[in-house]
Structure formats: C-alpha cells, structure tokens
C-alpha cells in the first residue's frame, strides 16, 4: 500500500509540462463534454491532461476556474450571464466575451446545442393539430399539460411563458420531471416541459415546439476557459474550437446523454464513439482502468484520512488538555467545536472554496475540523476524570508539569483518548467521500459520478471500498491500542482492575 502511495505521489509531483486541467459540473452532459474535451486535448498531445470532473454546481466549478485550479469546463451562455456576470441583459457570445475578458477568461464558439427549457408534444398530436411552434398552442386551449414543479414556479418557466405568449391551457398540473415523459407517452397529458437535450428526447417520438417569440433565455453550450490556456497551448485550443465549434447539435447531445443514462455506457465509451475512436467495444481496457482507478482512489482516500487525522490529533490533543486545565475556557472551546460539527459537511466544504480553492487542501481542512470534536472531547473527558488522589500523589512527589502529563495523565487517559481517535478515524473515512465534491479525490469520486448518473453500481464501487476501509482502520487501531495503552489498563475480560 505504501509503495503505491509513494508512486502516486511521485507521479503527481513530477511532469514539468503543466497539464491541461479539464473540469466539469456533476451532471451527465457536463461530464460527457468534458470527457470529449479531454480526449481531443490528449490527441493533440501538447500537454498532459488532468480530469477534474464532477465539481458540483456552477459556484464550485466557476470558483475553481477563477481560482486557477482548472483551465476550462463546459458552460452555458445563460448561466454565464445570469449566474456569473449577474446581468441577464448580456446574451450574445461576443457581448459575453467582452464582459468576461477582464476576468482573464475566454469563451469558445458555441458547440451547437443549447440546454434550455422547451415544450414537447407527441408526434401524432402535433400532426393532428398542426403544432410546430409554441404560439400554435394558442389555438388549442383544451390541451392538458404536466410541468415539473420548478418550471411551474420560475419566472423563466410557465408563469413567464404564459404571459409572454398569452397562453391559456385547460388543465396544468405539477409532476416530477422523471414522470412527465411516461405521462406524455401514455397519452395522459398532451404537453410537458423538457430540457432540449434530455436523453429521453432521443428515444421517443416527440416534437419539441419552437420558441418562435424567443421567450426562453439562450443556454447555448460553450467552453469557458482561462485566457492563459489559449496562450500557453494554442494548438490545443485551436483543435477544440475547430472540432467542437458548432459540431454537436441538440439531437446529438440528447443521443449521447441517452447512451450514458439509458444504455448505461461509460462517459469514456460515449465520448470515444462520438469522436469516432475504436476503443469502446473492447471491455478489457475499461476493466483494467477501473482496477487501476481503484488503487489510485484508495491511495487518495487513505492520504486524505491519514493526513487529516494526523493534524486533528496534533491539534485536538492540546485543545483537549487545555479544556481540562481551564474550566471556563474549556467549556467555550467545546461549545465552539460542537457548533462546528452541526455545519453540514457539504456546506463546510463549500465554505472552504473561497479560502483554499478546490482540491485536496480544502478537503483536508474540512475533514480536520470534523475529526476534531471526538478527539478533543475524549481527551478532555479522559484527563479531567482522573482519580484526584493519583494526581495529588504526583504533586506530592514533585513531578513537573511535563512529567505529570507524560507519565501519569496521558497513560491513564489513553483508553479514552484512543477511543476518541478511533471514532474520528472511522468517521473521517465516511466524511472523506464528500471530498470529491470539491475535487479532493478518493472513493467519493465514484460516488459523485454514480449519483450524477443515478447509477447504483458506480455508487457502490465507491461506497463498498469506503466501508471496507473503515473496517480495516478499526482493526488497525485496535492493534495500535496494544502499543499505546499500558497493559494493565487494557480491558481484558475476567480480570479485575
């Protein structure tokens, strides 16, 4: 295990060619485009490629780009204007480019597809009623509709659309997005809201109505990149522009989404099929890659757990002792650390981004903070509950503060302190799976990918090793007890203590 760890660290450390770091959000389409980008960059071969996929939502992944942690990621024009520039009046690509340029960022030519809200009807309905455009619905107020609750609520959803087109539909009801497709196909409703690149659109015979009065904001897909990337690796950037600009239309994107979400192909398989590569058919390399990935992820996970635990112990022990020495200060301290524990892990990770960017460092800091409570609390409890007579005796014998701590207090409290450290270790193995949300690596990478794909086997591929690691760490620490806890203090059944 250590050899693998060393090898991985060495591999991360060397390579003076600065890599192209490709990021993505954590949903299928973003992963797919990012994988295609990564493959094109690999084919150009100007620099090694680093995949930092699944970095949560816009806030996290844009934070990573702005902070220089990644070089580019797939984004949508509507998101750039509304969420990043926070100015919905900027809509065209040239205007966006002009506005984002001062931030040291550039925007590629649109890739061809747009992931926007749209309305869809069955082909037979469309043929029968002559429906091609949203404004055509005006003539058929008797149609029934099922809309996602979000779409029903948002200003850029149904309320705005209704107002913009002056539409009136007889029956509109809310329905989970996953259920609207079956409802439409089975004929229970006539109109549903869709995303224009939904995988299901590629598999069902539906007509997407044209937004003829241009209500829905444009969410055209582009690559958002650091300007330094184009300067540093001009051939890579040119190849991306040339091979992706205008090359992926809505139907193609919907088909790729369908391949991954409905056919359960991997991103790699779908991406290479799109690029016309011939590797996907062979399952061998894929399985080998999973094996290698698992070793890498195990090392990453172990490094996260070990490093954060080491720091938590180094900080937690003195804090626990401090709490035991100063009653008032101690209570304040324990309360503070307790409050920290109530912050949801994901929120804590999100707070780390402005401070430490993305990747391993913020994950380590967050994990440390979480591991602190059991260590501090148990150290405090162990040291402050020691027999008063034993401590008096140490004073009478003239032990110095340091001797008292090393010879008497720590050994006597060792069982309790070790219990706290064990709790922290096992908890950290679990919490470390969340590190993947900010690019911290580890088993969570598989879990995040699996969640994005709604793919249970991938989730389990991350969750089961994490559980096994928790078990292994438990066993390892029980063994460590034999070294740390003095023999007479170890609980051994049948012997009076």
């Amino acid at each position: 295990m250590l050899v693998v760890a060393a090898a991985t660290l060495a591999r991360t450390a060397d390579g003076d060619a600065t890599p192209v770091r490709v990021g993505s959000k954590s949903f299928t389409e973003s992963y797919l485009i990012a994988e295609i980008v990564a493959r094109i960059a690999e084919q150009v071969g100007e620099a090694p490629v680093e995949r930092r996929f699944g970095l949560g939502g816009t806030g996290m992944v844009y934070g990573a780009l702005a902070g220089g942690e990644i070089d580019l990621y797939p984004e949508y024009t509507g998101t750039i204007s509304r969420a990043i520039l926070k100015d919905s009046s900027v809509t065209t690509v040239p205007a966006l480019r002009a506005r984002i340029r001062p931030r040291g960022l550039i925007i590629s030519d649109p890739l061809g597809f747009a992931n926007t809200y749209a309305l869809a009807v069955r082909r037979d309905t469309a043929a029968r009623l002559g429906l091609r455009r949203i404004s055509d619905l005006d003539r058929h107020p008797g149609l029934t509709a099922a809309f996602d609750p979000g779409f029903l609520d948002r200003d850029d959803g149904w309320p705005g659309l209704q107002h913009h087109y002056g539409l009136r539909l007889a029956a509109v009801r809310g329905m989970e997005h996953a259920l609207t497709y079956p409802a439409l196909i089975s004929g229970r409703v006539d109109v549903i809201d869709v995303f224009s690149t939904d995988g299901q659109l590629a598999r069902t015979d539906l007509v997407v109505l044209t937004d003829d009065r241009r209500f829905f904001p444009d969410y055209a897909a582009v690559l958002l990149a650091r300007a330094s990337l184009a300067a540093r690796l001009p051939r890579t950037w040119a190849a991306l522009q040339q091979r992706l600009g205008g090359r992926i239309d809505n139907a193609t994107m919907a088909r790729l989404n369908a391949e991954v979400e409905l056919d359960r192909r991997t991103f790699a398989q779908a991406a290479s099929a799109f690029l016309g590569e011939r590797e996907a058919a062979d399952a061998g390399p894929a399985r080998r890659r999973l094996g290698r990935d698992l070793a890498t992820l195990t090392v990453e996970h172990l490094v996260l757990v070990a490093a954060s635990l080491a720091v938590a112990i180094a900080v937690g022990l003195p804090l626990g002792l401090l709490a035991a020495r100063h009653r008032f200060l101690g209570q304040l301290e324990l309360m503070g650390i307790g409050v920290l524990q109530t912050v949801p892990a994901l929120a804590l990770l999100a707070f780390m981004i402005p401070l430490f960017g993305i990747g391993r460092v913020p994950a380590l800091v967050a994990l440390c903070l979480y591991a602190l409570l059991p260590i501090v609390r148990n150290t405090y409890a162990g040291v402050s509950s020691l027999d008063r007579q034993l401590l008096d005796m140490a004073a009478v014998m003239g032990l110095s503060g340091r001797q008292r701590l090393a010879w008497i207090e720590l050994p006597l409290a060792a069982v309790t302190i070790m219990a706290g450290i064990k709790t922290a270790a096992v908890l950290t193995v679990g919490t470390a799976t969340l590190a993947a949300f900010i690019g911290g690596g580890g088993y969570g990478t598989l879990i995040v990918t699996g969640l994005a794909l709604n793919d249970v086997p991938t989730i389990l591929a991350g969750a089961i090793p994490a559980a096994l690691m928790a078990l292994a760490i438990h066993v390892a620490f029980e063994a460590l007890d034999r070294l740390v806890v003095p023999r007479p203090l170890r609980g051994s059944p049948g012997r009076a203590r």
Partner: protein
Amino acid sequence: MIALRDVTKTFGARVAVDHVSLALEPGTTRILLGSSGSGKSTILRLVLGLLAPDTGEILVDDVVVSRGTRRDALRRMGYVVQEGALYPHMTAAENATLAARAEGWARARMAARLAGLAELVGLERSLLDHYPAELSGGQRQRTGLIRALMLDPPVLLLDEPLGALDPISRAELQTELLRVFHELRKSVLLVTHDVREAFVFGTTITLLNEGRVVQEGTFADLARRPADPYVAQFLRAQAPPAAMTATL
C-alpha cells in the same frame, strides 16, 4: 519541625478544620484521631500544600508553606494513603521509584535504594515487577511505603495506612511500620479513626471532632482524664467488651 498555627479551612459552608494548632517534634509520632469528617485528613492535605488554609499558617522547619516554598517543603515529606494510590499502569518498582526518576537519579542508585527499602518493609523482590492489580492489599501498602521513603524524607504523613487491610495483614504491617518508624527515626503524623491503632503507634494523640481539637495527650491522658464527655464516648465506643478481653 512541622507546626500548624491557628489553621482554619472551610469548604463552602462546612468548616473542615477549625482554628487548629499543633506541632510535630522531630523523631516523634503524633496520631490524629477522630471519626470521619473530623478534619484529620484535611490537616494532612493542608500540610502537604494540596490545600491552602483560609486563615492561619503552616510551618515546615520554621518556614511558612506558601506557593513559593511548597516544593522545598514537599521534599521533606513522604505520603502514604489508605488504598495506596498506586498508579495502575506502572509496576510496583516503577511506582516506588517515581520520585527518584523525577529527580533524575541514576539507574544503579535507584535499584540499590529500591532493594534496600524492599527488604526494610518486607516486600519480596520478585513482586516489584508486578502491577498493583496483581498485588495483595498488604503488598500494595508496602509498595506505597517504599515510594514514600524513596527520597528519605525526615517526615512521614500517613492517612489510614492500614484502613483497607484484612485483620491479619493489618497486624503484620502494623508491626513492620512501628519497626520502620523507630529504625529510621522518622517524624510521623498518622491519621486514623481506630483507637487501638492510636494506642499502638502513638506517643501523642490529638483527638479531633468536627474540625476542632478536643484533647491532646498520651493515651493514658485521654482515657483517665477526658477533657470532654466526647473523649470518653469516643474511646468507649471502640473498646472491646470486658467479657471478651477476659476470655482472650
């Protein structure tokens, strides 16, 4: 050598030690006798500097014990308590040599001193490698005594040293203690609630009740000229029935 001058110590509303004055002369043994709550253990803790008096002062070799002088005062005292207060994670030898290790004694010096003391108090050498949990009550008290004697302090403070022992070990250790006290010419302040123990050990007895000194003197003084009805009551309560002594 050790003196209390008008010492008072309260815990909240409870007065544990109430204007107590007493002195311990070099080479003598003084017994602090009383029932539980009479303040006798608190007096030992005050002398050791584990507690600070509310009023009055404590002198060790004519120096008032304070924060600054406490360390020096402690060097002159060994302390033995009822259950031994041995550290469960250390062997008998490690427990016994703790003060010497804190002083930075050389290994050989420590070993020699340990062997000598083990012989003096009648503890088998092989038992020194045992943990307290593996020793009998008497062996634990002997270990505690070695620990108290390690740095050869002129004064020994003992708080119910025989209190936790069965009658036979108790009788044995009692004899050993008397021998050690006389052989080493220690000044001894011994706390007990047991009248017979006071009789065996004591040249001077201080009888305490509710934090106050009721009477001071030899056993004969207390028995024949009780200063207070309480003295007679306390002695009588622990006297064996006349019929029993006659039979024995």
